[in-house]
Amino acid sequence: MVNATEFRSAVKGWLEENFPLALKGQTAMLLELASVQNNLEGDILLWRQNLAQAGYGAPTWPKAYGGAGLTHPQAKILAEEMKRVGAFNLIPALAGMGVTMVGPTVLEYGTDDQKARHLPGIASGTIRWCLGLSEPSAGSDLASLTTKAVADGDNWLLNGQKTWTSGADISQWCGALVRTDSSAKKRDGISFLMLPMDQAEIKTRPIKLIAGASPFCETFFDDAKASKDDLLGKPNEGWSVIKRLLQHERQSQTSASRTGSAREAFQDTAKRYVGVDAQGRLDDADLRIRLANHLMDATAHSLTVRRIREEARGKVEVSAAASILKNTATQVAQIKSELTLELMGYQGLGWQGDSFNEEELDNVRSWLSGKAMSIYGGSYEVQKNIISKNILGLPENTQKG
C-alpha cells in the first residue's frame, strides 16, 4: 500500500489533470443542482465521469463495485485535497440516498449479485435512489408501517402509500420498507425491497415545503413490482436491515453545520450588520453573549467529532455517539440560522425581490429547511431515547409490542 505522502501527491496530480477549473469555488451551488437534477452537461458532466472513472464517488468501496478501495485515512486525504483546490465530490448528491445509506447497507447485507447490479450505478452517480420508509401513520414509530408486499411469481407486488419520500420524482430506484407477514409481531414481518421507480404502478406527488421547494413526495404503490432478487437481507428480517441503514443515515448527519456562508467568520457578519461600540464589542450585548455561546458550542461539537474519531483510532465505525453528534450538529446549525436571521434585522426577513441580497434570502430558506434536521433521521427526541437506552442503559420507555 502506498504511504500517505505518496498518496497525497498522487491525488494532487490526479486533481490537476481531472478537475475542470471552471467549476472551482462553486461547490454549494453545484451540489444543490446535483441534488435536484439528473442530466448534467458540460464541465460538470465531465467531472462526474472523471470521478466515477477513478472510483472517487464512493472512494472507500471496493474497486469491483465502482469504488477506489481506499482506506478511511486515504479518503480523508482525498477530501482534504479536493477542498484545497476548490473541488468537491458531487456523486453523493447525484445518487440521492445511494452513497450515504443504500450503498453501505447493500455492501453489508447484499448478495454478490445485488452488489454487482446496484453499487456501480450509485458509485458513478448515474442512478439516484430514494427511500420509501415513512408513511402517513408511521413516522418515528416506523415499525407500524402498513404498505404490503405479496409474492407473485418472480416478483413482489407492493400496495400502499409512502410519504416524505425525498427525491421520489427524480429517482430511478427506491429502497422500500414493506410488510411481508401481517401475522407476525410489529417488527418481525417487515422486509426491505429494492425496486425501479420507472413503472406505471408507482405514482409520486410532490409536496411543497415551508422553504418553498418540493424536495419530497407522496409515493403511491398500486401493484408495483419488485424482483424477488431484490429483497435485501432475509425475508421478514428487514427491521435489522433498516436499523443499520438508519445508523448510516445518522452517521452521515453528524458533521458540521451546513448553513451560512463560509466566506467570512460568523462574528464578522454580525459586526457588519450590528456594528460595534468604542471597545470593538458587538453593539448588542445580549446578542454578543449568545453569539459567543454559539461559537463555543460549534467548536465543542467539532472537537468532539475529532476526539471520537481519534479514539476509534482511524476506524470510522458507525458509533453509538452518532446520536449525540446528530443532535449537537442539528442544534448548532439551527441556532446559527436563528442568530443570522436576528442579526440581519429587517434585512433578514425577506422572501424574494431585489430589496434583499442573496445572502439574506439564502438564510431565510436555509433557516426554514433546517427545521427538518431535528425531524428526519430520527427526531431530536428519538435520538435522546436512543442515547438513554443504548448508551446509558436506561430501560426502554416507548416501545410497546
Partner: protein, 378 residues
C-alpha cells in the same frame, strides 16, 4: 477520553486505584469533619509526592517528570472524582506553570526542584476583590533601596495557608484596570509584613485572604519583566483554567455516575425512575454536555502541550463549557436523588458545594464567554 498514550493510561489507572482505595470521598468528609489545619491531611500530600505527581509538569532537568499538561489533567480528573484534598493543583500545576513560564534560569533552579519533590508549596495570589478581573490589580509594588515593597490585599488564594511561597501579581506602574504596569514576584509566604487569614469556604478547601503591609523583597524576586507581567499572568491563568477544568470534569463525571446509578435503581410507581422519559432525556442531555465539555477540556490541555496558537481561546472555551456542565450536573445530582440528595450524610452536597467554588475560580462562565468574544474580536 482522548486517545491516551500507554503511559497516560497507566498513570490514570494508577491514580484511579490509589485514590479510590486510599482516598475515596469518605476521606474528604472525614477531613472536613476533623477541621484539619490546612484542609488536607499531610499523608495524602506525602503519598502524592512519593508517586511523583508534583513533578508531572516540571522538566526533567529540574528534577521533575516533564510529562506535560494533558497527563496532569488525567490525574486531576481522578482527584476531582473523589474531591481528594491536597495542595497538588495549586502548587504543582499553577505554581509550577508560573515559574516555568516567567522564571529565569536561576529562579527555575531555586523553585522547580522543590515544587517537584513537594517540599515547597507555591501558590498564585492574583485576585483582590470578590470577582476575577486580572487587570483590576491595584496592589502596589514600589521600588525601595534593596528591591521592592509590597502593600495591598489578595483574596481567595488557593492553599494560601499551607503555601510556603507566593507568586504575587502587583502594580509597578499604571492604575487599576491597566494591563500595562503589572509585575509578578515570587517570595516566601512567611516574609515579614504578610498576614494570612484562613477562609472557611462552603467546599472545605484551603483558601486564604492575604494582606501585605510594607513587605520588603529583594530585586531578584521579580518574576519575568518589570511592568510586563500581564501577558504572563494571563498565560498562567490560562493554564490554571485548563487544569481546573480537568478537575471539574472529574467532579462532574462522578456526579453523573452517581446519578445514572440512582436512575437505574430507585423505584417509584412500580418501575425504576430511569424509565420515565423526562428523566431519560435529562440523562441524555447531561451525557451530551459531558462529552462536549470533555472534548474542550482535553483540547485546551493538548494545545498547551503543543504550544498551539489558540491556547487562550481554547482555555476560555474549556473553562466555560466545563463550568456550564458542572453547574447543570451538580443541580441535577441533587434533583434526581430527591430528598436523599438534600442530606449531609449523602455525598451529593459535597459535590454541589465544590462545583460552585470551582466554577468561580479563574473566572466563571460569564467571564470566559466575554473573554472568548474579546479574543475573537467582537
Amino acid at each position: 477520553m482522548a486517545a491516551l498514550t500507554e503511559e497516560q493510561t497507566m498513570i490514570r489507572d494508577q491514580a484511579r486505584s490509589w485514590l479510590t482505595e486510599q482516598y475515596p470521598v469518605q476521606k474528604f468528609r472525614e477531613m472536613r469533619d476533623s477541621q484539619a489545619e490546612f484542609a488536607f491531611t499531610p499523608d495524602t500530600w506525602a503519598g502524592m509526592a512519593e508517586m511523583g505527581w508534583p513533578g508531572i509538569l516540571v522538566p526533567e532537568q529540574y528534577g521533575g517528570l516533564g510529562l506535560g499538561y494533558l497527563t496532569f489533567g488525567v490525574v486531576l480528573e481522578e482527584i476531582g472524582r473523589q474531591l481528594t484534598a491536597s495542595p497538588l493543583f495549586a502548587s504543582a500545576f499553577v505554581g509550577a506553570s508560573a515559574v516555568m513560564l516567567a522564571g529565569n534560569d536561576q529562579q527555575k533552579q531555586q523553585w522547580l526542584p522543590a515544587i517537584a519533590d513537594g517540599s515547597q508549596i507555591v501558590t498564585l495570589a492574583s485576585d483582590e476583590g470578590p470577582r476575577h478581573v486580572p487587570a483590576a490589580i491595584s496592589m502596589q509594588a514600589s521600588r525601595n533601596s534593596g528591591g521592592f515593597e509590597l502593600n495591598g490585599n489578595k483574596t481567595f488564594v488557593l492553599e494560601g495557608m499551607a503555601a510556603s511561597a507566593l507568586v504575587v501579581a502587583a502594580r509597578t506602574a499604571g492604575d487599576a484596570g491597566d494591563q500595562q504596569g503589572i509585575s509578578l514576584f515570587i517570595l516566601a509566604a512567611d516574609t515579614d509584613g504578610i498576614s494570612r487569614h484562613a477562609l472557611a469556604t462552603m467546599d472545605s478547601r484551603g483558601y486564604a485572604n492575604i494582606s501585605f503591609d510594607k513587605v520588603s523583597i529583594p530585586a531578584d524576586a521579580l518574576l519575568g519583566e518589570l511592568d510586563q507581567g500581564y501577558a504572563l499572568l494571563e498565560a498562567i491563568l490560562d493554564r490554571a483554567s485548563a487544569g481546573i477544568a480537568a478537575e471539574m470534569i472529574g467532579t462532574a463525571a462522578q456526579s453523573f455516575d452517581m446519578t445514572l446509578d440512582y436512575l437505574k435503581n430507585r423505584e417509584q410507581f412500580g418501575q425504576v425512575i430511569g424509565s420515565f422519559q423526562a428523566l431519560g432525556h435529562r440523562a441524555a442531555d447531561l451525557y451530551t454536555d459531558k462529552e462536549m465539555a470533555r472534548s474542550c477540556m482535553e483540547a485546551a490541555l493538548q494545545a498547551i502541550d503543543d504550544n498551539g496558537e489558540n491556547i487562550a481561546e481554547l482555555c476560555s472555551l474549556s473553562k466555560c463549557k466545563t463550568g456550564d456542565f458542572l453547574h447543570f450536573m451538580s443541580n441535577q445530582l441533587i434533583q434526581i436523588h430527591g430528598g436523599i440528595g438534600m442530606t449531609d450524610e449523602f455525598d451529593a452536597g459535597l459535590y454541589l458545594k465544590r462545583a460552585r467554588v470551582l466554577e468561580s475560580c479563574y473566572g466563571n462562565q460569564a467571564y470566559h464567554r466575554d473573554r472568548y468574544a474579546r479574543l475573537l474580536n467582537f
